[in-house]
C-alpha cells in the first residue's frame, strides 16, 4: 500500500450528495461532481441552477446541509472558512469583477501574491526581487503592463475581468474557480480570455462557469450542465447541447 492511499479519491475536487436549502428553497440538490487534477471544466446552466451557490460551497462562503466536499482527496472543505480554503490553494474570480478599486493594478496583484498573509508578515513586509518579477510576469500575461500604476477603478470592464484573473494567477492556487469571466466583454476580449484560460490550464485545474456558448465551445473542454441544483448532463459541448433535457430547461417547458 502506498502512503498516499489515505486519499479518499484521486480527484482534485470531489462533491458527493451535496444539499443546500435557503428557507426551504433547495438551491443545491444531491449534487455530485468530480474534477480531475489538471482538468478544465465548464459549468453551464440556466439562471438559478445553483452554479454560484456551488462555488460558494467550495470556497467556504456557504455551508452545505449535507454531503461531502473533498479537496485534493483529503481535505474536507465543509469544515473550513474562506481564509483557510484560500490558503489551501483554491482561488475564486467573482461574477461581478471585484478588484480593489482605490489601489493600483500593481498593488492589486501584490495583495494577491501567495506570500505571508499574517498581520506581522505584512506589517514588516519588504518587497523582494522574486515578488516583483512574478508581478511583472502576471502583468504581461494579462496585458496590463502599461496600466500597472493606474488605479484599478479606472480600468475598463474587460480589463478589470483580466486583472481579477491576474490576481488568481498571482495567488497561484491549485484550483481556480472562475465565475462568468467573459460577461460584458467584446468578441475580441472573449477570444483572448479563452486563450488566457487555456494557457492557465496548462499548470492549474480550472472550473469555469459561463453562459456564453461560443466561449464554452472555444474552450473545448468537458461540460457539465446544472439544473435546479443537480447535474443534468455531462460530456462534450456537442453532446450536452444536443441533449433533449438540456434543450428543454434552456428553452422552457
Amino acid at each position: 500500500m502506498n502512503v498516499m492511499d489515505n486519499r479518499a479519491t484521486s480527484a482534485m475536487l470531489y462533491l458527493d450528495g451535496v444539499h443546500v436549502s435557503f428557507d426551504g428553497f433547495h438551491a443545491i440538490n444531491n449534487l455530485s461532481l468530480t474534477l480531475a487534477p489538471g482538468e478544465m471544466r465548464a459549468i453551464i446552466g440556466p439562471n438559478g441552477a445553483g452554479k454560484t451557490t456551488m462555488m460558494d460551497i467550495i470556497t467556504g462562503k456557504t455551508k452545505p446541509d449535507e454531503g461531502t466536499v473533498l479537496f485534493d482527496g483529503v481535505t474536507d472543505l465543509t469544515r473550513l472558512d474562506e481564509t483557510r480554503i484560500a490558503e489551501l490553494g483554491i482561488g475564486r474570480k467573482f461574477q461581478k469583477p471585484t478588484v480593489f478599486e482605490s489601489q493600483t493594478v500593481q498593488d492589486n496583484l501584490l495583495l494577491a501574491l501567495n506570500v505571508d498573509h499574517s498581520v506581522k508578515g505584512t506589517l514588516f513586509w519588504r518587497g523582494s526581487k522574486a515578488e516583483s518579477e512574478r508581478i511583472d510576469k502576471v502583468l504581461e500575461t494579462i496585458r496590463l503592463t502599461d496600466a500597472r500604476n493606474r488605479l484599478a477603478g479606472s480600468l475598463s470592464h474587460g480589463q478589470k475581468q483580466w486583472l481579477e484573473i491576474g490576481m488568481l494567477l498571482a495567488q497561484d492556487p491549485k484550483l481556480l474557480l472562475v465565475d462568468e469571466p467573459v460577461a460584458g466583454m467584446t468578441d475580441v476580449e472573449t477570444h483572448l480570455t479563452a486563450e488566457l484560460l487555456k494557457e492557465i490550464n496548462k499548470t492549474h485545474t480550472v472550473m469555469v462557469v459561463e453562459h456564453d456558448m461560443t466561449f464554452v465551445r472555444e474552450l473545448g473542454v468537458k461540460v457539465t450542465c446544472l439544473h435546479e441544483g443537480t447535474v443534468l448532463a455531462e460530456g462534450t459541448i456537442d453532446q450536452v447541447s444536443s441533449n433533449e433535457r438540456v434543450i428543454e430547461v434552456y428553452l422552457g417547458r
Binding site: F100, Q103, M167
Partner: protein
C-alpha cells in the same frame, strides 16, 4: 519598528504637518514662559491649556481615522477608550494628592472617605506609581478593544451594526462610571489634582510641558499611523475597507487585521485621554457620553477621512469653532451648527478639507505636467495626437 519604517514615504504633506506640530510644540511653550505676560506675542496660559486640549483631540481623531478611514470600521464609541485612558491617569493624579485632600487621608481619595470606604479597592492598587498608571493608560483601553473586537470581528459584525454596539459599549461604561459604588468617584469623577511627577499641575511650567508632550505624542501617533498605512498591511486594510469578502478569498484573515488596527487605535485614544486629563484638571463619566464619540467622528469627516493629517486638522478646526461659538451669543445654537456642518461637509466636501485639497492639487499637478509636455513637444515641432477618451 525600525526607523526605516517610520520615515518611509513621508510625503510633502506629512513633512509639513510634522514641522508645524513640532514648531507649535516648541514655540508656544517658549512664548508662554519666556515672554513677559501681556506682551503681544506672549501666549497666555489659559490658551496653552486650551490648545493642549485640541492637540489631545487631534490624537483621538488620528486614532479614529486609522480604523475608519483606512479599514472602514466606524467606531461610534471611541470616546470610551479616550475616557478610560483619562481615568487611568486621573487615578494616578488622585493618589498623588495624599494628605492634601479635604479629609487628609494618606491613602484614600476624598470621595472614598466621603462614601465610607474602609480601604482602597484592589483595582486602585499600583496607581500611586506613575509607570504603572502609564502602562494602564495603554493596557486598559487596549484590552477592552481587544476583547470587544475579538468577539465582534470574529462574528463578522460589520457596518452599522458594529457602530451601534460601539455606542452601546460607551453608554454602558457611562452608566457604570456614574455609580458611586463603582469606585471611580461616581458623578463627580476625579478632580482636585495637585501634582504630576512632583510638579504642580496648575503651574505654568507644567502646563507648557504638558502641551509640548501632547505635541510630541501627536507626532509619534502620526508616525505610527503613517508607518502602518504605508506598509503592505496598510494596503490590506484598504482592501478590507473596499471589498472585505474579496480580501478573505485571497487568504487574508480579515478579523486579525481589524483586531490589530482596532487595538492600536484604542491605545492611541487612551494616550490622548491621559494627556487630556491633567490639562483640563478633571475626568468624569460625561466623557463616556455617546455624543462625544460621534462628535469625534465628525472632526474626522470634516478634515478628510483616510488622510491622517485631515483628521488632526478637523479636530482642531471644529473644536476651535466650538470654543468660538459657544462662548458668545451663538452658544445655544452650537449643536445646530455642528449638525449643519456635518451635513454640509457630507454634501459639498465628501472628501473633507484635506481630501478635497489633495484632489485639487493632484489634478492641477497633472495639468501642469501635461502643459510642460505639450510645450516641450511644441518646441520639438511635434504635434500631440489627440487622445481619444
Amino acid at each position: 519598528m525600525t526607523p526605516h519604517m517610520l520615515t518611509r514615504s513621508l510625503d510633502r504633506g506629512a513633512t509639513i504637518f510634522i514641522a508645524v506640530v513640532a514648531a507649535c510644540g516648541i514655540l508656544i511653550p517658549l512664548s508662554n514662559l519666556l515672554l513677559p505676560a501681556g506682551s503681544f506675542l506672549q501666549v497666555p496660559t489659559y490658551l496653552v491649556a486650551l490648545w493642549g486640549k485640541y492637540v489631545c483631540y487631534a490624537i483621538l481623531a488620528l486614532a479614529i481615522d486609522l480604523i475608519w478611514g483606512y479599514c472602514g470600521i466606524l467606531s461610534l464609541g471611541h470616546g470610551a477608550f479616550f475616557a478610560l485612558g483619562g481615568y487611568a491617569m486621573g487615578m494616578y493624579l488622585m493618589r498623588q494628592i495624599g494628605t492634601r485632600g479635604v479629609y487628609g487621608n494618606p491613602i484614600l481619595p476624598d470621595f472614598m472617605v466621603f462614601l465610607n470606604y474602609s480601604k482602597l479597592p484592589w483595582y486602585w492598587y499600583g496607581f500611586d506609581m506613575f509607570w504603572f498608571a502609564a502602562l494602564m493608560v495603554l493596557v486598559v483601553p487596549g484590552l477592552l478593544a481587544f476583547c470587544f473586537g475579538w468577539l465582534a470581528f470574529r462574528s463578522r459584525v460589520t457596518g452599522v451594526y458594529l457602530s451601534i454596539i460601539t455606542q452601546a459599549m460607551t453608554y454602558a461604561l457611562l452608566l457604570a462610571f456614574f455609580r458611586n459604588d463603582f469606585g471611580f468617584g461616581g458623578n463627580n469623577g476625579l478632580t482636585d489634582f495637585k501634582d504630576i511627577l512632583g510638579f504642580n499641575v496648575q503651574a505654568e511650567g507644567t502646563r507648557a510641558a504638558l502641551f509640548a508632550l501632547s505635541c510630541l505624542a501627536l507626532i509619534a501617533g502620526f508616525l505610527i499611523c503613517r508607518a502602518i498605512v504605508s506598509s503592505k498591511l496598510g494596503k490590506v486594510l484598504i482592501a478590507v475597507r473596499d471589498a472585505e469578502s474579496r480580501t478573505r478569498f485571497l487568504g487574508y484573515r480579515v478579523e486579525s487585521y481589524k483586531l490589530f488596527v482596532f487595538t492600536v487605535s484604542a491605545c492611541m485614544a487612551g494616550v490622548a485621554g491621559a494627556l487630556y486629563v491633567p490639562q483640563v484638571g478633571i475626568i468624569n463619566p460625561s466623557e463616556f457620553a455617546p455624543g462625544n464619540s460621534i462628535e469625534a467622528v465628525i472632526w474626522v469627516a470634516v478634515g478628510g477621512r483616510g488622510t491622517l493629517v485631515g483628521a488632526a486638522l478637523g479636530a482642531v478646526v471644529v473644536n476651535y469653532a466650538k470654543t468660538f461659538f459657544t462662548s458668545g451669543m451663538l452658544a445655544p445654537y452650537w449643536l445646530f451648527m455642528l449638525g449643519a456642518l456635518f451635513i454640509l461637509v457630507t454634501l459639498l466636501l465628501p472628501k473633507g478639507i484635506v481630501g478635497t485639497f489633495n484632489a485639487w492639487w493632484d489634478s492641477s499637478e497633472e495639468k501642469r505636467t501635461a502643459a510642460t509636455l505639450a510645450s516641450a513637444a511644441a518646441e520639438d515641432g511635434v504635434t500631440e495626437p489627440k487622445m481619444a477618451e
